[in-house]
Each structure stands twice: as C-alpha cells, then as structure tokens.
C-alpha cells in the first residue's frame, strides 16, 4: 500500500506539489525502498528530459498582429446588454449551487420538486389543439422551459417535453431551516430587488451563521441594487474585526462599488482595523488615486492616524 501511494505521488513530488508532511513521508520511504527510489530517479530523469522542450513565447510580430486584429473587431463588437446581465444564467447559478448542498436540497424540495414534466402531443392542422396531456391542469402553472421538440416522420405527430413550475408557499420562523434556505435563495436569485432587500434584512438577524454570512458577502459584491448592498454591509459590519473574509469583502466594496454611499459606509466600517496590512495597502492606494475627494481625504486622515512602520 505504501509503495502504491508513493508511486502515485512521485510525479507531484517532482513538480513540487506535495504538502510538506506528505513530502517528508515520501522521502522517508524512498530512503528505505530501493524500487521506489529507482522510480523516483526515473521520474526525475524524465522530468529533466521534458524540461529541454519549452513552450516558446509568441514573437513580438504575432503579439502586435493579434492586438491589431482584436482592436478592429472590438470596434464593432457589442457587450452583453443590460437585460442579458439580468437574465438568469443557469450555468453560473449551478456553479454557485454546487457549493451549497443544503441550498440545493431546499431548491429540490420547494422549487423544482414542484415542477411537472409533461408531454403534450399535437396533431398539425387539428381544430382540437391539445389531444393528450396530464389528467388535470395544475392551477397557476407556468412553463419553465422546453426540453425537447420532435416530430414522428410516420405519423407527423409532434412531441414537446416541457417543465412547468407551480407556485407554493411556506410559513415558519427565522429558526426554521427551510425558511432560512428560502431566504438564502431569495437573496441570491430573485429578480425583484424589494424581495432581495427583505430577505437580506431578515438574514442579517442570523449573520452569525457562516452560510448566511457568505450569502451577505455575495449580495454585497454582486447585487445590482445599492440598497441591498448597504443592508448587507450593515449586517457584516460586526464581523470586520474577527472574520478576514468579511474584511476582504468590505475592502472590495470600498474599492469597486459604484455607489458612493456604499463606499463611504465601507470606509467607516474598516476604520477600527485600519492598522491591518491589507487595509493599510488599500487606504494608501485610495489616498493616492481615488476619484472621490471625500474618500481620498478620509483615507489620508486614517493613514495619518497610524503609527509609522519601521
């Protein structure tokens, strides 16, 4: 078993990817095992052979030609429209959900578990329209998406598979796990900013929960509504001192947010931790280059209050 582990990790050792403890273990084993020592030597020699072949840099001519060609194309290229930014991006949403198994479960329970996969068959030119369908038509259904459309060449019958989602309601207290998961979902995904503000407002009462804090940081960084971002900032303010992730999120808001109110609030929140190295670095950049006179002067004032670094 040990030799097998060593053989699988020799290539990582050669590329410097092993953790220190694993590297130590491997070295200890190789010192005692002739076969593994030979394998390590062979891998090192092979690595040295490969190292003679390098990926060449692009020539300056190629770089220049590529840049010119891109510049020409950019003159007529269009960025994604405002509405396409608001549009639901399933791939991106799925990437977020995969890190939140509880959220994914909540969605299955409340959202897509309510979906119905239905097949309707239509005969073209028929006056009756729908020939076959589910036994009962659910109330307040809406079509969430069409999965497939096909036509039978023999009968000309068309088959359409689609998903329908039904509206449901859940009631409970803030301590209810299902309610919390729905609030997290609402904070991430709802198109109605009022709903997002309400969800963030409620979630703020549970900002001690790490999952909630992550949702608040996400809203601070990504929500298009400055009111939602301000609410998230308020909720996260108590954790700037103890949670470095929160501190970094607040710093990012200070640097990147396009709303001056959010930036000023972020600046106020990092004041107690201004001595932190990363905070100091950001303050120095803001004091030198920020476009807002107020933020520039506030950053300078904060820096002036700090002791000199030896």
């Amino acid at each position: 078993m040990k030799c097998e582990w060593v053989r699988e990790n020799i290539v990582l050792q050669v590329y410097g990817e092993l953790a220190d403890d694993a590297r130590h273990e491997l070295e200890q084993h190789v010192a005692r095992c002739a076969d593994c020592a030979a394998e390590l030597k062979a891998e090192q020699e092979f690595h040295a052979l490969l190292a003679q072949d390098r990926a060449a840099d692009a020539t300056p001519n190629l770089v220049a030609a590529s840049r010119m060609r891109l510049q020409e194309a950019l003159e007529t290229a269009k960025q994604g429209s405002f509405f396409s930014r608001l549009a639901f991006d399933p791939a991106n949403w799925l990437r977020q959900v995969k890190f939140s198994p509880a959220l994914a479960s909540a969605i299955l329970i409340f959202g897509f578990a309510g979906g119905i996969v239905t097949t309707y068959k239509f005969i073209p030119h028929s006056t009756t329209g729908i020939v076959q369908g589910p036994a009962t038509v659910p109330v307040q259904t809406s079509i969430a998406g069409i999965d497939s459309i096909s036509q039978d060449p023999n009968t000309n019958q068309i088959s359409i598979k689609y998903k329908a989602v039904s509206e449901e309601q859940k009631q409970g207290s803030l301590n209810d796990q299902d309610i919390q998961q729905l609030l997290l979902y609402a904070a991430h995904n709802n198109y109605n900013s009022g709903v997002r503000v309400d969800s963030v407002d409620l979630l703020a009462k549970r900002s001690g929960d790490l999952q909630v804090r992550e949702a608040l940081m996400y809203a601070l960084q990504n929500d298009t509504n400055p009111g939602v971002r301000l609410k998230s900032l308020d909720a996260l303010g108590n954790y700037v001192k103890d949670d470095t992730n929160v501190r970094d999120a607040v710093l990012r808001a200070l640097v990147n947010d396009d709303n001056s109110g959010v930036r000023i609030e972020a600046l106020r929140l990092i004041e107690p931790v201004k001595a932190d190295g990363s905070v100091r670095g950001v303050l120095m950049a803001l004091a030198a280059k920020d476009q807002s006179t107020y933020i520039k002067s506030q950053a300078r004032t904060m820096l002036a209050q700090l002791p000199e670094i030896d």
């Binding site: 990582l12 490969l50 190629l62 194309a73 396409s84 960084q221 990012r252």
Partner: protein, 197 residues
C-alpha cells in the same frame, strides 16, 4: 504591495470595462494577452490557430465581462475561456486525426513548423539545435496521444507552471482530479518516450 496594486488596477479596469470603457478593456487585455498567446500557440501548434483562439477568447471576454462577478480572479476567468477554446480545438483535431503542425510556403510546399522555431539562446549550436528539434517533435507526438483534458492539465502544469489548485479552478474541477489527470498524463508520456531515456 505591488501585487495588491496590480489587483486593484485590474479591478478598476474591469469595473471600467463593465461600464463600456473599451480602452480599459484593451489595457486589461495587455496584462494577459502574451500569456494567453503562448498557451494557445503551444496547444494549437500554428500561429493562425493561436491567433484565432486569442481573438475568440478576448471577444468572448469583452461580450461577457458584464457577467464577471469577481468570484474568481480575472486571470482564472480568462484562462478558463482560453482553455475551453483550446479543448474544443484539440477535440476537433482528434476527430480529424491531424499530424504534426505544418504550414505552406509561398510556393505551396508544406514544411514542419517545428523546424522553424528559432533558437535564440546564447551558445546554441547546430547539432544541439537538431537534437532539440527532434526531441520537440517526439514530445509533440507523445502529447498528441493524451486525451484533450490530460493534455490541458499537463500543458498548464508543465509548460506554464501553474499550481494544480489553479489548474483545477481553471478547468472547473477539483485539485484532486487535476492531480490524478496529471499522473495519468505523465504515465502515458513516459510510456511513449521510454526509448529516449
């Protein structure tokens, strides 16, 4: 501090580009495009294909920069776009079963591009150049035997020195999967080049 300033600069450029500032986007391109071109050139083997990948990658980035949410670094994001384009290229090439990269000279004759890579290192001599080109051709042939995914992991790790954790982020998989893929790739390459050691 320099690294942090660069990150703040990139962040500001991205925000400006998201507001439609094309000059900001072009500046952002200049921070990354040589690395992108080097990757595309080595993977595709031809300057034309590398330029096409470069063009497609940065146009895609320009059109979608509004969707960039700072959940990862711009470096990871742009590399992800480039590697996906290169993977498509490798998969199409596997289907067509093309051989070593070639180009046409003005008279219409074909020549192996690998013969044209100039050696600008000090102290290069013809015999060593020839051996290096032969080695390069053999390695290139061995790399063709890897699956596109194996080739990409190996390329990013070996030729571009990225940490496997970064490779995993770029390919949207785990570090563990990247490690296993690297192991499989190197085993295959050792087998293919066994006679050269």
């Amino acid at each position: 501090m320099a690294g942090q300033e660069r990150r703040i600069d990139d962040t500001m450029l991205i925000r400006e580009a998201q507001r439609g500032n094309r000059a900001a986007f072009e500046e952002l391109v200049r921070h990354y495009d040589q690395a992108v071109l080097r990757l595309a050139l080595h993977l595709t083997g031809t300057e034309q294909d590398a330029q096409d990948v470069y063009q497609d990658a940065f146009l895609k980035a320009y059109k979608n920069i509004g969707n960039f949410r700072f959940e990862c670094s711009f470096y990871t994001w742009i590399y992800r776009i480039v590697t996906n384009l290169c993977l498509d290229h490798l998969r199409k090439r596997n289907v067509r079963k093309e051989d070593a990269p070639v180009a046409k000279d003005p008279s219409g004759g074909e020549y192996d591009l690998l013969d044209q890579v100039p050696d600008v290192r000090a102290g290069a001599n013809p015999e060593r150049d020839l051996m290096r080109r032969q080695l390069g051709a053999r390695i290139s042939g061995a790399l063709e035997k890897l699956t596109p995914r194996e080739r990409m992991v190996f390329e990013l790790k070996h030729y571009h020195g990225l940490k496997l954790r970064t490779v995993g982020e770029i390919l949207q998989t785990t570090e563990e999967t990247a490690k296993n893929t690297l192991f499989r790739a190197t085993q295959k390459l050792r087998g293919a080049l066994a006679d050269m050691r």
